[in-house]
Symmetry: C2
Subunit: 457 residues, 2 copies
Amino acid sequence: MKDKKIPTRIYLTEDEIPKFWYNVRADMKEQHDPFIHPATGKPCTAADLEPVFCKELVKQELDCTTRLVPIPDGLMEFYKSTRPSPLIRARFLEKELDTPAEIYYKFEGNNTSGSHKLNSAAAQVYYAKEEGLTHLTTETGAGQWGTALSMACAFYGIDLTVYMVKVSSEQKPFRKAVIETFGANLIPSPSNTTDAGRKILKEFPGTGGSLGCAISEAVEVALKTPNCRYVLGSVLDHVVLHQSIIGQECKVALDKYGIKPDIIIGCAGGGSNLGGLIAPFIGEKINGKSNTRFIAVEPASCPSLTRGKYAYDFGDTGKMTPLMRMYTLGSGFIPSPNHAGGLRYHGMSPIVSKLYHDGYMEARSVKQTEVFDAATKFAKVEGILPAPESSHAIKAAIDEALECKKTGEKKVILFGLSGTGYFDMSAYMSYRDKSMTDYIPTDEDLRKGFDSLPKID
Amino acid sequence: MKDKKIPTRIYLTEDEIPKFWYNVRADMKEQHDPFIHPATGKPCTAADLEPVFCKELVKQELDCTTRLVPIPDGLMEFYKSTRPSPLIRARFLEKELDTPAEIYYKFEGNNTSGSHKLNSAAAQVYYAKEEGLTHLTTETGAGQWGTALSMACAFYGIDLTVYMVKVSSEQKPFRKAVIETFGANLIPSPSNTTDAGRKILKEFPGTGGSLGCAISEAVEVALKTPNCRYVLGSVLDHVVLHQSIIGQECKVALDKYGIKPDIIIGCAGGGSNLGGLIAPFIGEKINGKSNTRFIAVEPASCPSLTRGKYAYDFGDTGKMTPLMRMYTLGSGFIPSPNHAGGLRYHGMSPIVSKLYHDGYMEARSVKQTEVFDAATKFAKVEGILPAPESSHAIKAAIDEALECKKTGEKKVILFGLSGTGYFDMSAYMSYRDKSMTDYIPTDEDLRKGFDSLPKID
């Protein structure tokens, strides 16, 4: 039975912050298929991955059995400087919608990186430091991940090189400035600092770059530099593991007040925010202990779950990564340039893909103007300017709450508000001046993407 | 005696949020001099002020006797959606400085307005709504106040017109976009929507505008529009009253853990953040119950407390406001254009001025490159990107902590971190690329400002 007095914003005390990540794979009835080494066609071993990734992260990536993974003390120190994040009752949104539903959101944007990315950034940098590494490389597109990682590297005293997609670094000089303020070396990609960059520059002079190219540059530098590794902010299992701190905190807070969510909603790009939020809850569902519905929300313009194939694919457009079985539009799929709402990754976390494939989760796609409608409505009543990515979840939460209004059901809806939109104002501006349009790929558009899938299935 | 276990981030529970603002004037031995009506030369009455300001705010402005002013329930509802703000132990900064001092900061930037301004914005809009007003006007420079007010107006359903200094609206299109996203009508000033604007445009075609002009336009519209008033975000006594929620929360949190601050530091522009932070603590000092030192920190380029005169002056460059006795550089003083760190107001809250004049408080000025040094150091270890304004307080806190290192004293230092710097990245960029310079006005520069003082002292 519920405690009568639930505060609008539930903050756990420092002592209540969970001391373990939750590894949902330990509860999954079936594991997702293993990574395949593209050269050998065989499942990847730790030895295959360790030249690129930190040892402890490789271990976590391949661990399907440890249910609760302890968060190290040295990392908990960092978590305590940015966590717990608040779980907020959306009282004003409920009132605005005049819904009988109860809406809660877990807000991960109250830190300088502006998103949940910091949870995994800090973990990855912590392990790099423990391993004695001195240097990390990564790529960043819109810049959330690059910002989070630069913060974590400043904290732990690790050098960081960020390859930022050139056109993004030009369009978002302020993001670039934040990353540099935290001391990272930011290089617009493609650059002449790597073979991969020089090759692209030669073939496509004047190109604005791509995430695929930036990944290639970052991986190349990691492989060639002593005491250096590459880190990635989404998709991979160890990232979902770190992000489970979101769901773990939610669970403690909800349990404390006797609240049982009927529906849990998250936006889905690479899947780390969604995967982390739902992890402990979907574990209960797998074990038959709950009937909660889970909804992944993705952009109609980049619909990997709702219109993609469940197939082996490369993680990057440069086709350098191991092959992962996941929902994908093909690594050659490129969302329309007018898509402003983030979540533009062609694939999806293998864990999230498998859970969806096995029927534990629903997925839906939404159009970007609807997403900005929802974002603006939410901002006005709840007083938080949401990231376009997170606003996909808001849109679905509003739709579910309005459905409750029709049926009169008092459902409890929980969604993840993964970040803030302060660096996305040009997207808000194009929404406001109506230059924003909706784009839904045709079957022909999708076919082109699928043509890029490797022929191994 | 101190509780052993003090969390890194102290969040009050919802029930612990103070239910009263603290009106420091009720404890002051002497009141500051009254406002003078510039036309009559006599002290302003409520009737003089009510055509421009909401009735309840006028009442608060003139109330020197009510020590504890209840925060209305309908406003507390809003406060609970953004407050309490955290009181954070700067453990990592202490470690970085290797100081025996304990450093705490009250962080007011964890809301979409990015600053403490929301505390008074919400209060002012709440009272406007209660009075049956339907429309408010204001001016904004850098945009923090405009953002806060647009959020509060969206929440309470009041129309808002913001006159934004034209050059700021052009230099900060994203700030403008945030304000518009919350539904405010933003007009770059000077504009042709008012007599004042048209006059300026005729005299100075192509001008980038000024705060003084924007105030004139906003006040003119407020006076001419039915059910409309003008609102101001700093300087005035009722604003300091609302901001006392900062100090009130600090006091509850510190008392809870038995922490007694030796030094309290705040940045000072118009004085509302500083005044609100120190209010309940300086009340204790006035009553002989503490020996806490208070330090106001201002930019060397706009040194109203440290180099200004304590004199009657206009609140605006347009010379439309009542005359206030305060520390001032003269309403004609204009800080160097290369000054990027905010806090560019020529005067200072009459309350803060009087407290300083009567010796309850110290003041110091700091150079802007030093401020950005401190900001960057702080960001890297504490993981928060501070507003340039707030970084003035960081600079002084670091200096005090380093002094403790020399003397070996374990002082407890508390400072106000009034906001975040996400919309100030061009200033950070000019700091990083070394194009930022320091400017200290010469005595001759100051004399020109003092020449603009009214001749009534």
